[in-house]
Symmetry: C2
Subunit: 428 residues, 2 copies
């Protein structure tokens, strides 16, 4: 491998230059080994944030991060594979409904997920609310479950893209999280290393999302879709609304409960709609003919896959879920239409109630969170419960209520509306 | 002191915002203590490099770096004080001629200097070529010498601006050296902490200098002059040429020898001219009336101060200086005018001959360096010696000659010219 000077590469990017493929490979390899120091990589990350990277550089960075670790391969499975990645939202339990639904149509879903940090929950935290369920599978167990069930959601092992893991932790403390080339290579290095043949990105837009406006979300989606296809993964993206929470339940066990309702043919319309739209996109990319996706939610096929998937990882799909010990009702202060129920405010309130963690080593409360009794756009009456706050520790109510302040508006003159969830689609 | 988040401050600067006085104080204080990590400070340095700082921020940064350590005060001396700082050049022995010359007019010069790293030499390395001379003085010794002799050149103790020392080492390995706010605060924090009442900056321009073009040099000079005056130090700057070496000698003992020639009333005209111009500027800022500066070089007053200054620090002004064991002549390849004798090429060649060091812990060869037999703009004859390369280790000649390749041009049709050294003056 060619040899470079870290300082010279930083200066090149600082001056708006391009980094060659060899230079990027050298940088990532030597950062992983500790030859390039954290303080050099953070200066580089800031230069990338402010000066950008072109499509070829982003692809090279992603491939170098993949090359820093192991890469799974499911090409010899008896069926095609497809996965979904969400950039994170409030009440986003869609992985739970989507993986079994897609598997019901003969497309295997090999999903490596993470835990939550901050106001957006983590899929593994949610599933761990199911008694007995375990997140850590070996590669052989993951493959066996894909063959027997067709869907697996488990923890990403430390062997996948270790360079990304190290760089992500660095970006978090150096103000360099928000760089699109770094966001894109972080997401895609893990998803490509995971071995899926097709991938749909759910890029969230709005107050509760990482991307606050649609232009920036579209920019990220475009980079992600190009990157996936450049690396040989059939990739597309949906831009979806995250100005207000998805569904009525926010919190770990609460979201499992709502996902099971949807898999049983019920549940809130927005959760059904986005599940169906994402499933259709995954099946399309995986080359499956047009099918009646929603039917599999109504006729029990998706539920059967769910039960098999949970059982295969030691979970008891019939076990009662944790329930919070304490609750507090938030009432509507006027008659009118609920014109604002802000995703970020609700997400932070739920986090403060104990559904999320402050530090990586914290545990989450499975029963904590928020149950909504009305969604944005719906009419409410003064004094009716708008939401129920749930926690094991009543001392948490006050700070959760603080977070909600300014996040709720009722307009007596507004008209009822239904929210549009899927805002746009980005394809190769 | 107010409390801040390092990440939030990095993001603010990254987004082009201003950092408050309190924020800058917090940042520098906590970086010095190790609470703000190197990887955070390097991301901040890159954000400052790319997004800049305004005049108030640069002043605050400089004052915070001064506040991180001790500050000397010479206000109770019986005479005014003035100092000079050069941004570094090839053959720049001007501190050696200037300090005794200014002291000869009753203005004390309290100069804290450094050692060389890279192709520009360090004043302390040059003076250490004088047998017995010692660079390390206590603050009390420094003050006593200013009272008895009126001039002192010694090593900056670690107590001055420790935040700058730490930040400078970080910038060196993170590609963030070239940020004007950081260059300016680094230079000025040490000079202001040193306790001088007046300061003249010699900002070098050209191939052998840090600033390669006059616009960028003028920008740096303007920031430095504003900063000095904002902090209560009478400050001005001269922009001086560094496309070709100063004088005929490059190397430690060689430059001492040339400085002594100038103090004895001889020496090359360019060294005399820049010494006199800088002395005049220092005396003007220190409030001394118009005097015939050059006379003090001719009549021995400056030489008397030199001998007293060297003796006071244990040096023997009459001791023979080290002479290199080996020499190699570089001959003119044509008749014509020496139109190019590149400062950077000569500086690197001298460095490779052993006059400079590669790593901080290396020793320099006192006798190594280059003696020029012609200056840029002068006529030469084919076969005459252009320069003599000097070193104790003949193995070094080859890489020195490599460095010179492309750095010398002789034009048979060009006309003789005299170089202009002082290009401009920047005042408050």
């Amino acid at each position: 491998m060619a040899t470079f000077s870290a300082v010279e590469l930083i200066i090149a990017k600082r001056e708006g230059g391009e980094l060659s493929t060899d230079a990027i490979n050298w940088l990532v390899d030597n950062y992983t080994k500790g030859v390039v120091a954290d303080e050099q990589m953070s200066a580089m990350a800031m230069a990338i944030l402010l000066n950008g990277m072109n499509r070829r550089e982003i692809r090279d960075l992603t491939l170098a991060m993949i090359a820093s670790g192991e890469r799974l391969n499911f090409e010899t499975l008896p069926w095609p594979t497809a996965d979904k990645h969400s950039t994170g939202g409030v009440g986003d339990k869609i992985t739970l409904t989507l993986a079994p639904l897609v598997a019901a149509f003969g497309v295997a879903v090999p999903q490596l997920s993470g835990r939550g940090l901050g106001h957006t929950g983590g899929t593994l935290d949610k599933l761990e609310a199911i008694p007995g369920w375990r997140a850590n599978l070996s590669n052989a167990e993951m493959r066996a479950q894909l063959e027997s069930v067709g869907a697996v959601i488990c923890a990403a092992g430390s062997g996948l893209a270790p360079a990304d893991k190290k760089l992500y932790a660095l970006r978090d403390v150096t103000g360099t999280v928000e760089a699109i080339p770094l966001i894109a290579s972080s997401i895609m290095s893990k998803k490509i290393a995971e071995g899926t043949a097709s991938l749909v990105l759910d890029v969230k837009v709005g107050s509760g999302a990482f991307m606050k406006n649609i232009d920036r979300a579209r920019e990220l989606a475009t980079v992600l879709v190009q990157l996936g296809n450049d690396a040989g993964v059939n990739t597309s993206a949906l831009l979806t609304d995250m100005t207000t929470p998805l569904g009525l339940e926010i919190g770990n066990a609460l979201e499992v409960k709502e996902a099971v309702e949807v898999l049983a043919g019920g549940g809130p319309q927005d959760v059904i709609d986005i599940t169906v739209d994402l499933a259709r996109e995954m099946l399309r990319l995986a080359g499956q003919p047009e099918v009646d996706v929603a039917a599999a939610l109504r006729d029990g096929r998706a539920m059967d896959k769910w039960r098999a998937m949970i059982s295969a990882q030691g979970g008891d799909p019939d076990a009662p879920l944790a329930v919070a010990k304490e609750s507090h009702q938030v009432l509507a202060e006027a008659d009118g239409v609920l014109t604002k129920l802000d995703a970020l405010a609700v997400g932070i309130a739920s986090w403060r109630l104990g559904a999320g963690r402050e530090r990586k080593e914290d545990a989450v409360q499975f029963g904590a969170g928020i149950t909504l009794h009305a969604q944005q756009g719906q009419p409410v009456r003064k004094g009716q419960p708008l939401m129920t706050l749930l926690t094991d520790e009543p001392v948490r109510f006050e700070r959760a209520l603080d977070a909600l302040s300014g996040g709720i508006s009722i307009d007596p003159n507004a008209v009822e509306s239904t929210k549009q969830i899927v805002l746009d689609r980005v394809t190769a």
